[in-house]
């Protein structure tokens, strides 16, 4: 392949170019080609089923030419100009209104009906660029927003190409709230069971060694090779830590998900000698789990409440953070805000890959009367207003994801209370595997966020 002359390409675009078509012609087409899609493998103005995206791309296979069939896109690209017609700069750096609009636009396209096969989305105006990944219903950053310069454009191309040529299979989810008692472990076990029921390959990691509730609730014990062993010794095979949790139903059907049990050795983590063998500190778990990202559909990490090694590692290793709260527990809502506003950004800054992101909160396992819901909503509204005023941080999408100006939709997903769920721990089997109603509730939760 000929080396693309990026210096020439970038010099050829006016600093305040306001014509999107020019950016497409002089930059984006070269970029898509550099990612390995030829002229026959890209379609401009692709109808997604929910608006038209500027470019769609996919490799051709025998007898199927994407340019003609225009089906099953793999990558979508949304292009913006560098400036408006009036000369104002279009700034796609993270957090600007233009960035947020464009991000929401690519999300909408990636989730549209004719893009079910799409896995990647790019937004760019030839000044900034960001790659997003789609997994089921979730769209999240695969890179940070990058400022394009002559000295980094080749690195950007090869990084993006490497990612889209080697798509990870899994979505890694950390179920976390900085406040305890919100049902993190129950949610993790039942979501794993539900997704396994849906035919997904699921791995659950109990990273709460002091309690090990998940491991106990499934009646499992740690294997000969433990997670601590693998965190401290890179030569061990982390696959040896896995054990299946399988349930055979009367119908003969077998359902299974895999578990890495809580490691009691990690419970003594505060001892210097143990911590001193885990290189990179809280960044180590992510590396250790790398192989699984290409093997499972979902990886769930259950971690303890306090902001320390275990929770930091879990947030560092995940793509998205699912935050259970209780409507009648103000502390659980306040702590959700802390996770969204402080902890997730802290980890994101350390990782430099645009992740993790927080998913919208949900109310977990309590029945809500209309008057209780009203009080909870009043509280949430005042928190949202307070944070906007205090630090210009917009919490609205994390509490009311369906809210749009024309329709003040303040619905928060709520998982109803159900005695069987709480009692299931004694049966050593997640309620979603055992009880039709529980299964239905958790399927709704899985559908709300993931499938």
């Amino acid at each position: 392949m000929l080396l693309t002359d990026w210096n020439h390409i970038l010099d050829n675009i006016l600093p305040d170019e306001s014509n999107e078509a020019v950016i497409s012609k002089r930059f984006v087409e070269y970029f898509i080609e550099a990612l390995g899609f030829n002229q026959q493998e890209q379609v401009p103005e692709f109808p997604t089923g929910n608006g038209t995206v500027d470019f769609a791309a996919r490799k051709n296979t025998d007898g199927d030419n994407f340019l003609f069939s225009k089906t099953n896109p793999y990558l979508l690209v949304e292009v913006k100009a560098r400036a408006t017609g009036a000369g104002a700069k279009i700034n796609l750096s993270e957090g600007t209104p233009q960035y947020i609009n464009t991000r929401e636009q690519i999300k909408r396209y990636l989730l549209a009906s004719k893009c079910n096969t799409s896995q990647w989305g790019i937004i760019t105006n030839s000044v900034h660029i960001q790659l997003f990944r789609r997994h089921g219903k979730v769209v999240f950053p695969a890179t940070p927003t990058i400022l394009i310069k002559k000295d980094n454009i080749n690195a950007i191309v090869s990084h993006v190409k490497h990612l889209i040529d080697n798509p990870p299979k899994a979505l890694t989810v950390c179920v976390y709230n900085n406040k305890g008692g919100v049902g993190k472990t129950t949610t993790t076990a039942n979501l794993a069971a539900t997704l396994a029921q849906q035919g997904k390959q699921v791995l659950v990691i109990d990273f709460d060694p002091q309690q090990g509730d998940l491991t106990k609730s499934l009646g499992l014990e740690v294997r000969k090779v433990s997670l601590y062993d693998c965190l401290s010794d890179r030569n061990l095979n982390i696959h040896d830590t896995i054990q299946p949790f399988a349930v055979k139903f009367k119908s003969g059907k077998l359902l299974q998900f895999d578990v890495i049990a809580a490691d009691p050795k990690l419970g003594n983590f505060t001892e210097q000698d143990l911590a001193a063998r885990i290189e990179k500190g809280s960044a180590r778990l992510k590396d250790a789990l790398k192989a699984f990202v290409y093997e499972y559909d979902y990886i769930f990490i259950d971690c303890p409440t306090n902001w320390m090694f275990f929770s930091q590692s879990s947030l560092y290793a995940c793509d998205v953070v699912l935050i259970p709260t209780k409507h009648n527990n103000l502390a659980s809502i306040d702590n959700a805000v802390k996770v969204i506003k402080e902890l997730v950004p802290k980890v994101k800054a350390a990782r430099q890959d645009g992740r993790p992101i927080a998913l919208p909160i949900f109310f977990n396992g309590e029945n809500i009367t209309p008057s209780q819901l009203k009080i909870a909503n009043q509280e949430i509204t005042s928190i949202i207003t307070r944070e906007i005023k205090a630090s210009n941080f917009n919490l609205l999408p994390y509490f009311y994801p369906k809210y749009i100006k024309s329709d003040n939709n303040t619905k928060i997903f709520s998982l109803p209370s159900y005695a069987i769920v709480a009692g299931a721990a004694f049966a050593r089997i997640p309620a979603a595997f055992k009880d039709i109603t529980a299964a239905k509730y958790y399927l709704e939760l899985a559908r709300e966020y993931f499938i």
Partner: protein
């Protein structure tokens, strides 16, 4: 130093992950005997090797090479190390603290007391080349001379303080250095550009001028990073250059005034 790396932490690292740094030699007797004491402590070295990270899970010794040699002699699987940040100043400091290199002072600006202490140290060394030099006389003459612009030690010969050309003069380089640069003509300032519409390169040119001209401490700013941050910031609502001080790019309120030499709104 953060929760997500090893910097500043005492780590128990695999010996095979650590490369030797500088060449090191010590008598076989000392190394073997020291290894024996480590083995008697169940393989625990109470004085750590100082290492830096040179790649993913890869380290190199930067100081306390002796401990590294002892760990190898003792055939330890893991050795206790402190991982330090890889900047050259940090490594230099570790070597100074481990008494592996001598600290040096800038003779262009060193105080009289510092010069005296440094000369006394040199003279007191066994078989010192400066033996016979009177440290007080030499210090007085050097301290009083016009040394701010010295770019080598030769002017000391003319001070007639007992430090003559050759071994004596060369010995000074063990503890002194000079950093005065020949004065260069001032750079021409770039054209003032609007910060709101400036391209990234224009922002860089402006900051680069302030940095190279050493105006108001801009020489200490990472101008590559600051240019990216300023360029990417939302500037539509700016009514002055003051919001730059809130971007956390190292440019605080005391530096805003200098920015006006290169940027307008």
């Amino acid at each position: 130093m953060s929760d997500f790396d090893n910097i500043g932490k005492l780590m128990h690292l695999k010996l095979t992950d650590i490369e030797p740094g500088d060449h090191f030699s010590e008598s076989e007797f000392i190394i073997k005997a020291a290894a024996e004491t480590v083995l008697q402590a169940d393989g625990r070295n109470w004085v750590p090797v100082i290492v830096k990270e040179i790649g993913d899970y890869q380290y190199q010794t930067v100081s306390n090479h002796f401990v590294y040699a002892v760990a190898q002699q003792a055939k330890l699987e893991r050795v206790w190390c402190i991982v330090i940040s890889p900047e050259s100043q940090s490594i230099e400091q570790a070597k100074i603290l481990a008494r592996e290199v001598l600290p040096k002072v800038n003779l262009n600006i060193a105080s009289r007391d510092t010069i005296l202490a440094a000369l006394r140290y040199l003279i007191s060394e066994p078989s010192s080349a400066l033996r016979g030099v009177d440290p007080i006389v030499a210090t007085n003459r050097i301290a009083e001379s016009n040394r701010k612009t010295w770019s080598n030690f030769n002017p000391i010969i003319t001070l007639k303080c007992g430090i003559t050309k050759g071994k004596k003069l060369d010995a000074l380089a063990k503890v002194f250095f000079l950093s005065s640069l020949p004065a260069s003509p001032p750079l021409p300032p770039p054209e003032i550009v609007s910060i709101k519409s400036a391209s990234r390169d224009e922002v860089f040119t402006g900051l680069s001028y302030l940095s190279k001209s050493q105006i108001d401490g801009f020489e200490a700013i990472d101008i590559e990073k600051s240019s990216d941050v300023i360029f990417s910031a939302s500037k539509g609502k700016w009514k002055s250059l003051n919001p730059i001080s809130k971007l956390e790019c190292g440019i605080d309120t005391t530096k805003i005034k200098a920015l006006k030499k290169v940027f307008s709104l």
